[in-house]
Amino acid sequence: MSVGTHIAILGAGPGGYVAAIRAAQLGARVTVIESQALGGVCLNWGCIPSKALLAVVELGEKVKKAGPMGLQVSGPVTYNLPQMVERKNQVVAGLVKGIATLFKAWEIEHIHGMGTIQDRQTVQVKVNDDSSRSVNADAIVIATGSSWPNLPQFPIDGSQILTSQQLLDLQQIPPRLLILGGGVEGCEFASLYSALGTDVTIVELMDRILPLEDEEVSSTMTRELKKRNVNVVTGTTVERLERHGETVTIYLKNGTTLEVQKVLVSVGRGFNSRGIGLEQVGVRTGQRGEILINEQMETSTPGIYAIGDVTGKSMLAHVASAQGKAAVENIMGHRTTIRYDVIPAGIFTLPEIGRVGLTETQAREWANGGEANASVKIGRFRYTALGKAQATGDTTGWCKVIAASSGKILGVHIIGAHAADLIHEAALAMQVGATVVQVADMIHAHPTLAEGFMEAVEDTDARAIHLVRKKIG
């Protein structure tokens, strides 16, 4: 297929809208069907709004530390949450408008409605104004995403028991908040609300918070949260909760009872694969309801593609975007696949986390189960030994590099200021197959935080300059 091809895309999140623009670049005629705001969860109720709020407390934390650095600020740092939320809404509105502008420039049609696939070439749309329309297309891309949990034992009521979407619009700082689930979202909200002055408790079922991250990341994050007086409870979950007028009483399985004003339910997300007509066209789904796709993002039904959260591959906005570009490139006759082994990701806690590739445990499992003589070497470097970190006062954090004995980089984990940006040098090195020696041989500018990655890479061969290798205690 090529120029003149008409592509219908269900959903305008970071998967769908990026797919739409890429398809238009390649000469396709594109119709996007989205009943809610352009940009999806990521832009409207996820990544962007939470960062907009976190940016304010990060600034506040800096100001709180400013006195000894010689910056005089009179009066205490206080937060105006309604104003923070208002500014967050402006940031989001601006970005949503930006997508609309791009759509206009590329002549992408946006139908405000819900699409249901009727057959391989037809999408039936229930338009928001209650009219209905039929869209004929040569190919269909499903980018319907995922939705907030709705577990019977934790009934979301929008006032006391909340989803992250609802927590982003809170107008009053709650005295006490319970976060159910110590994953990425749970830890980000714990950082945000503890900085606002809320007494936060995280309850995580696994034996550590951020259970999918490297063990050292989890333990440092636990410590950093404790420094903020966050109560981190692991290895248990909520047995039941009772709602009263102003408070919620939480009974944990470990016997502890807590009383809070708000509860954030941050466990699991459901795939939006129901009610969109998959069964009518025979699109196969997996056990969890995720849409099964091949390397070209095509479903079991030729001509119908799926991308993003709904494919259950990775619940990350940037993976959805990459899948979206790949899907439409394949539709337009180009052979494109993506690599799932090099996916950088950021966690926007205080401090920030950046990650790419394997954790140390995964790397050791790989070494044990893999080729003969494969072993793993670890390099570490702490922010505190970086001139730049000392100068700016961002001395908390470290970089950890996990490499194979061959020098191949298997995974990199950074916790500290700008970690989510810094991780991309590591991701690029992995993407192009650079060895630790090649990275160490590249000159890194001084003074920068990026030197931390260079020194950690050097430390895999015990040749970091600003590190004394000796065992303490």
Binding site: K226, R382, T395, G473
Partner: protein, 129 residues
């Protein structure tokens, strides 16, 4: 810097016995090796602990190190001052820098710990190693 009236553990914790209870902290050698201490994570009162078990962590500007309990028993007191002033462990490791008080489960365990003289020998052997 090795008080004679204390007992020492190979992980560099000290123990001061007072009746059925014992106070635990980290030695001068440990604090010196760690450098400027910025955070100390201690167990909760009421926790029951076993000799050799990890009970907390000390974070310094150089590293993060585990705190082990040299003795078994129940934590009856933790030094809350260290939350805001962890640097006290650097300045006064055997005094105000104490970490926890443990209700002894087995007083005999204390006898197995090193005396000041033994700890001194242990340290010099470590330095050579």
């Amino acid at each position: 810097m090795i008080p004679a009236d204390l007992r020492y553990h190979q992980e560099h914790e000290w123990t001061r016995v007072n009746g059925t209870q014992a106070t635990v902290g980290i030695s001068h050698f440990a604090q010196d090796a760690l450098g400027d201490i910025v955070f100390i994570d201690l167990p909760k009162v009421g926790a029951s602990v076993k000799a050799g078990q990890q009970i907390g962590e000390v974070e310094s500007t150089k590293t993060t190190s585990t705190i082990y309990t040299p003795i078994s028993g129940t934590i009856v007191k933790v030094n809350a001052e260290l939350k805001d002033h962890p640097e006290v462990v650097n300045s006064d490791p055997y005094g105000q820098g104490w970490m926890v008080v443990i209700d002894l489960a087995n007083a005999g365990e204390v006898e197995k710990l090193m005396t000041a003289a033994q700890y001194e020998t242990f340290l010099s052997s470590q330095k050579k190693g």
